[in-house]
Amino acid sequence: MGGLPGGVLTPAPAAGVSALVFRAGPLYCALPLADVIETMRPLRTRPLAGTPPYVRGLTILRGAPAPVIDMTRLLTGVEAPIDRYVAVRAGRGPVACATGPVLGVQDVQVAPPEGPAALFTGVSKALIAAVGTVGTEPLLLLRSIAAVPDEVWEAAGGTPPEVPS
């Protein structure tokens, strides 16, 4: 299991945002705890044709199909090992976020809206709500996942061929 420099994360001050902290490749990311349903091991995933590269495909979460978003590819554009799936609440149902190691729940300190986050534009601005720190590393506080294209939700009704995750 990965971890921050210096070992396991220490709880953030109560004034911060309670979020689930995980790694996406070289980045430290956090999802607001209110959006997180659960964490699990990577499940069997079926790829979908005609989807963006960061969409790994569909999986079954508690009996319902859900798209799988590769957070490392979404945020950095590169490949990285997948250790966990994090189920989050999205507008049209749960979404499985494929991440690196999950570091735990903690209150994270983020910068004010006029800080570094003001520099983000486009997709980055739509994904990243704020930027904080974990030790000496930057921490990206993500917005609720809304990046799943509609055609992915439409394809969730079918069953594409299964590939190893």
Binding site: M1, V8, P11, S18, L20, L33, A34, V36, I37, E38, T39, M40, R41, R84, V102, G104, V105
Partner: protein
């Protein structure tokens, strides 16, 4: 005639011809002189006997006439006796001249004189008889003038003719002898000239042959002398080089002799060492057997180690399975704790307490997972070490087996070495003996080389002498060519 003959033969023939012609000249001269002497003797005899005989006849005739006249005057018996005596002397001399005279004319003249003398003698005898009978002088004179004087005048004329004829014969004989002497002189002079010409021709021929043959021979001698001189020079150089080489060979052989002696000593030491090596090799057989037993023991110990290590690997694998199970449980616990924390976050105050407990459980699960991971790493290290040990042990076992086989090979090699050492020992003894013989041979070669070097120096000296002699011979050849008039070729 002289073609193909030696110069000595030619010289003998030339001298023979000259000597023959000289002898012929001498014989001819002697014969000519003999003939001339005989002719002169005949001339002198004719001059002395016939001419003097004829004159003596005239003188005796005058004396006889005087005696006859004396008898006619005085009629003395003495005159008669003298007249008769003169007549006998006249007839005796006339007879002697008849034997001496040779030609027919003289003989006829002598015959006429004899006949006239007979008539004169008869006439005088008749007158003397008449004188004896008469003393008439007148008559006597008259009778004498008519009977005796004509006969006497004829007789005197015949005597005068005889004298003149003898004179002519003497002159002719002298001329004939002079002619013979002249002929003899001409013949002798001709033979002398012929002998001289022959001698000159022989001398010229001999001189030409001498120049040609002797010149050619001397030229050959000169050429041969030059070649001999060159060969002698080469021989001098070769002899000098040979002497130098033999000196170096002698030095080298001396060094070789020293080396041979050192080799003989070394061979003797090697023989001794080989004997010691052979004894040590025979003593090594017991050590080889002990080593083989030790190798067998090591092989069994290695097999046991391999078995123990394989058992240790199996136990480690079982431990790894347990650790994997613990890791799985820790991971599940971690996920459950996180999910519990997530669930607890929406449950108010009680939820926060539960979240604390869940967080502690997650920490314990993390620690458990970390420890399991460390154990897993240690087990992997142990298994790696076991595998490495097993592989090393198996390699060691194989190495022991290979070592055992190699030791067997080494043992066989060692025994072969023992045999070879024995063979080497024999060979070393033979080498020692051969080296001693070689040393003796080298000593003999050294002596021979020294003798050869000395002979080479002597040969060089002889070659120098030969070169000088050849040069002298060449000079003498040039001088001889100058002497025979051919000059240098």
């Amino acid at each position: 005639m002289m073609a193909g003959r030696t110069y000595g033969g030619k010289l003998a023939i030339g001298v023979g011809i000259t000597v023959t012609l000289t002898l012929l000249t001498i014989v001819t001269s002697v014969v000519g002189l003999v003939f001339v002497v005989k002719a002169k003797d005949a001339t002198i005899a004719s001059a002395t006997e016939c001419l003097s005989g004829a004159e003596n006849l005239s003188r005796l005739m005058e004396k006889r006439i005087a005696d006859y006249r004396a008898y006619l005057l005085n009629k003395s018996p003495e005159s008669a006796r003298l007249t008769e005596e003169s007549h006998r002397s006249f007839r005796q001399l006339l007879g002697e001249m008849g034997c001496a005279s040779g030609d027919a004319e003289s003989k006829a003249k002598l015959t006429d004189i004899t006949a006239l003398d007979d008539k004169h003698a008869a006439a005088t005898t008749e007158m003397m008889t008449t004188r004896t009978q008469t003393d008439d002088i007148e008559e006597i004179n008259r009778l004498n003038d008519t009977r005796v004087v004509p006969i006497r005048d004829a007789l005197q004329k015949a005597l005068t003719d005889l004298t003149e004829l003898v004179r002519i014969d003497v002159a002719e004989s002298r001329q004939a002898s002079s002619d013979r002497a002249t002929q003899a002189m001409v013949l002798v002079v001709s033979l002398g000239v012929l002998t001289t010409i022959s001698a000159v021709l022989v001398a010229l021929r001999l001189s030409r042959d001498l120049k040609r043959e002797v010149g050619t021979a001397v030229g050959h001698i000169q050429s041969s002398s030059a070649q001999l001189e060159a060969a002698a020079a080469q021989q001098v150089s070769g002899g000098r080089d040979q002497a130098s080489a033999m000196s170096e060979i002698t030095t080298t052989i001396s060094e070789l002799l020293i080396t041979s002696r050192q080799i003989a000593d070394s061979a003797q030491r090697v023989s001794k060492i080989a004997e010691e090596t052979e004894a040590a090799a025979r003593a090594g057989d017991a050590t080889i057997d002990q080593t083989r037993t030790s190798i067998g023991t090591i092989r069994s110990q290695v097999d046991q180690i391999v078995q123990h290590m394989l058992a240790l690997g199996e136990k480690s694998q079982q431990i790894g399975q347990v650790v994997d199970l613990v890791s799985e449980l820790a991971e599940q616990t971690n996920i459950l704790a996180i999910n519990a924390t997530i669930e607890a976050s929406g449950a108010g105050e009680w939820g926060r307490r539960f979240a604390v407990v869940a967080e502690e459980i997650r920490k314990l699960a993390d620690r458990t997972a970390g420890s399991a991971k460390e154990i897993r790493a240690l087990i992997e290290d142990v298994r790696g070490a076991v595998n490495t040990t097993v592989m090393a042990t198996e390699i060691g076992a194989k190495a022991v087996d290979a070592g055992a086989r190699q030791f067997d090979d080494a043992t066989n090699s060692f025994r072969e070495i023992v045999q070879l050492v024995a063979t080497t020992n024999d060979a070393t003894r033979e080498i020692e003996l051969s080296t001693k013989q070689q040393t003796t041979a080298v000593e003999q070669v050294n002596v021979a080389a020294s003798d050869t070097a000395r002979v080479s120096r002597e040969t060089e000296a002889s070659a120098v002498q030969t070169k000088q002699t050849a040069a002298h011979l060449s000079t003498l050849s040039s001088d001889l060519l100058e002497m025979v008039g051919t000059g240098r070729h």
